[in-house]
Amino acid sequence: MIEIYLLVIAMLAAAIVAIEIKDLLASAVSMGIVGFSVAIMFILVQAPDLAIVQIVVEILTVVFFAATILRTTHTDTTIQKGIQREGIFPVIAFFIFGTLVTVLAIYALKDLPRFGMPIMKVAEHYIVHGLNQTGATNIVAAIILDYRGYDTFGEAVVLFTSVLGVLTILRVKGRK
């Protein structure tokens, strides 16, 4: 358990650095730290499927960001130095509402099941009967392609739509 907390602390620190630092390349690198920590966390909670996807997507994302940054300017000119006079009110409002939401969340989340103890009966059914009913030893594949195949089909449609959207935005011909 302790290593998950350490990872969470490292991710928080890296996220703050990614927002606040002025050098955009360093910002992209610390964003990569967050992503790889998520991958390590997936391995720690025994979800290697997600870890593979996370690692590959994270590498691609960091490469894209680095390629873009190396072609443009290196520094972020939009970061302000210190807190301005008119910036005080949002900070106070942030702390008030943050405290309020935290207190409410502590009350609301008290009844949730503990970590690693799901109350959903259907997950237990998948684990117990998955191999007999589908024949797949990888339980994740059995769930996403057999029990929840319809969701996966929706996911494929979402991917297709996103490709269409990118091509529509980037088109040259027909744009006025």
Partner: protein, 144 residues
Amino acid sequence: MKGMSVIVKTISRILAGFIFLYGSYIILHGHLTPGGGFAGGVIIAASFILLVLSFGAAEIKEKSSYTFSSIFESLGGLMFLILALLGLFAGTFFFTNIISKGAPLKLLSAGIIPLANIAIGMKVGAGLLSIFLALAASHYIMKE
């Protein structure tokens, strides 16, 4: 987009095939070991993206590979839909596993799940690659 140095080109020419092989392994063994169509498709797309990044975009090559990736993406989506409809045609429900399940831990087992993994791998890999090509080489591809 011009290419990188000769060291990068040589190394990525050697590595791209192995990355493609690893992605194929992840897809084909998706029903046995961790992985599956989504992860393997992204890895296969990464092998092509590595080649495009290191060798640079040339007009004719980009246009033809863009056409190929569009065709493969549509093929993957259609294959997945046909697999889902097979259950309907066989007289049961959408997405029924109608092929025999076979022995567990064999490569040819689990009915339509390996086929669906291949379809999703084609779709994800080709879709990601065509997004990348459209972003990186939009000058060449979108011109006509």
